[in-house]
Structure formats: structure tokens, C-alpha cells
Subunit: 205 residues, 2 copies
Amino acid sequence: MRKEYSQSSLEREHLCDNPFEQFSRWFEEALEFEPHEVNAMTLATVDSNSAPSARVVLLKSFSADGFIFFTNYSSKKGGDISVNNRVALLFYWPQTMRQVRVEGSAFKIDPSESDEYFNSRPALSKASSALSKQSSPLENRDEFDKRVNTLLGSGAEISRPDNWGGYSVKPDHIEFWQGGVGRSHDRFIYSLEGSQEWSITRLYP
Amino acid sequence: MRKEYSQSSLEREHLCDNPFEQFSRWFEEALEFEPHEVNAMTLATVDSNSAPSARVVLLKSFSADGFIFFTNYSSKKGGDISVNNRVALLFYWPQTMRQVRVEGSAFKIDPSESDEYFNSRPALSKASSALSKQSSPLENRDEFDKRVNTLLGSGAEISRPDNWGGYSVKPDHIEFWQGGVGRSHDRFIYSLEGSQEWSITRLYP
């Protein structure tokens, strides 16, 4: 099942000096070439026993301030972040043979921004988010569906629960990985090592 | 970019009692429906500062003994595992709207098994693996390519370096996530909580 890659190699002079501009460029290219949700990213978190977990979340927006996603703050990932806010994000775009690896720290965004996004969501998603005890055991799926439908049918305005909102991941390392033939991959890592300036280093594949 | 899912929902009675049989079933279905490398999985590791990293590796085989992948033991992931062997694996199959989340412990496999796989690889991959200081800074890509080509051209038998080989991830938690419309996803987690028997619990979406 191993695929051989034919993409041209990546050189330092192809890269923007700023990693967010570089990310933006690759993201646009992924939107053009990838058949599936380009904004699906893996979020890795660590619990209080130093054990990692990984799952897909959807990137909602990004800027030099960070990569933003929304979730239930009381979920497993929210619990992990509350004790250790170091996280990793991974974008994997197989059609363009690329990965972007982000490492940084996660912070809750301003509640008003979470309100704004929550209010923009479809009613079904709002009702489900309001009632889900995300990642906890669920005895009876039908009973949960019934409660969601009752809330939906009530016509009541559904406002954002306190335990639902956004995180912004502020990176200090961003690696761009371009797959190549015969494992001749190109890897460049942008690092903020205590400084305000990003340095760029090529890594062994 | 959010996609609405149309897949039928997942019920307890759809699931095998054994998570490896269940994984095997979903893996076969992914082989049928997914356009890209089905065996690409995210590996999350944790460093000595409890910071996570995530990257894609390729699953080579799986059984009730574990999920096996190969890498450079001196790479960043190898270093992480040497101080903390708790890892997470994530399979994400967007076409079938599925995730499989594995949590467990990683162990080096028997050197003879690593030899066997190494010897089966194409010469270019062997030469590159033998010479790569994976994840370390690489000053000059051309110089590395030249060394790879010199080794290849020498016609010498390339044997497995001591710092290259397989890990087997022995899981204690495996979650099967089936995406649904309006965030009505189905989640079932198989857990080995100190026992020999797998328990299955439905989780809130």
C-alpha cells in the first residue's frame, strides 16, 4: 500500500519567511487538490499521567494569533488541556503529499467569540452540543436523541453552554513536510526558541 | 467546509466483541472505499516535558498482539518513546466518515522481525534509512543525496542499522467513531481496565 511520490522537492527558497503565510499557501493548495475536508486536523493532548490522546477536530480559522477550533470544554480533550495546555496539531493532505505539524499551547478564546460562532451553527448542532456530555458514557442513544428533538421542537433560543467554546493554539514550532520518492522527503521546521523571530531549519527525512 | 454525513448509525449489535476483529472489518471497508493510503495513521508521542508531538506513520501489520510500524529509533518519536512509551494512534477515514482511536504502550519488536522487514524494502529506502539522522538538522540536502547515491552505487549489501526497527503498540483502549448528520456521531470504546476482557461502552458524541 506504500505509494511512491512524484511531487517536486521543497527548497528553502520556496518557503515564506513567516510560517503562517507558508501555512496559508499550503492550505489554499490543499483546498484546490484534496478531495476531503482540508480543515480536518488531528489534535493530540496529554493527560495528567502523561498519556497522549488523538482525535480529529475541525480548524475554524487561523492567523498569526493561532489555530482556532471549537469543542466541549468538559470533554476528554478539554480535561487534558485544563491540566496541560501543551498540544500538537497535525494536518495530513495525502493528495499533495504534505503534512503540517504544529506544536504549541492552547488557550480558551474570548467567550464573545465563542458566542458568535455558536450562534452561527445549525439548530440541530446547537441542541446536540447543549445536551451532550461529550466523551462520557451514554447509556441510551435513543433517549439522547429524544432530548435533542424535544429541545429543538420547543422553539426555545439555544444559547451557548458555559462548557462549550473555542481554543486557540499558539504555536512555537511548525514543520512543513513534503513527501518525496523513496523516502526522500523534505522537512523544514520553523521555531520560536524564546525569541520573537522564527528560525527555519531543514531536518533529515 | 463542514460536510454533512449520510452514513447509517452504529449500534452495539453491529460491533464485534473483539476490537481487533472490529478493526479488521473497518480496515477492509476502508481499503474498499478510501482513495488514499488506508494504513496511514497518526502517531502521538509525549516528550520528557509532557509535550505531545504528532506525525503520520504507516501501519505495517496488526494482530491481537498490537499495531506495528517501523521507524528510526533515534528519531524524535523514538526518543519520546524511550522515556515514555504511552502513545496514541489515530486512523481517520473521511470517505467512510470513521475514526479509530487507539491508546496503549509501544514496545520494540524482535530484531529478527525488523531485519526481515528491512531486507524486503527497496534499495533506495534502505540506503536512505541507513544514512538518515531522522529529525536532526540537515545542513545540505544535496550532500545527503550524494551519500545515499554513493552507498547505492557501491553495490554493498545494506543491512539494517541498529537504530532502525519496528514498534508494536499494544492497546488498552480502542474507540470506534462513526460520523453522523448534525454531529449525531456514534462512539464506542473498548477498554481493558486491568482485566483480560474487553468491555464496550457507548460514549456521548
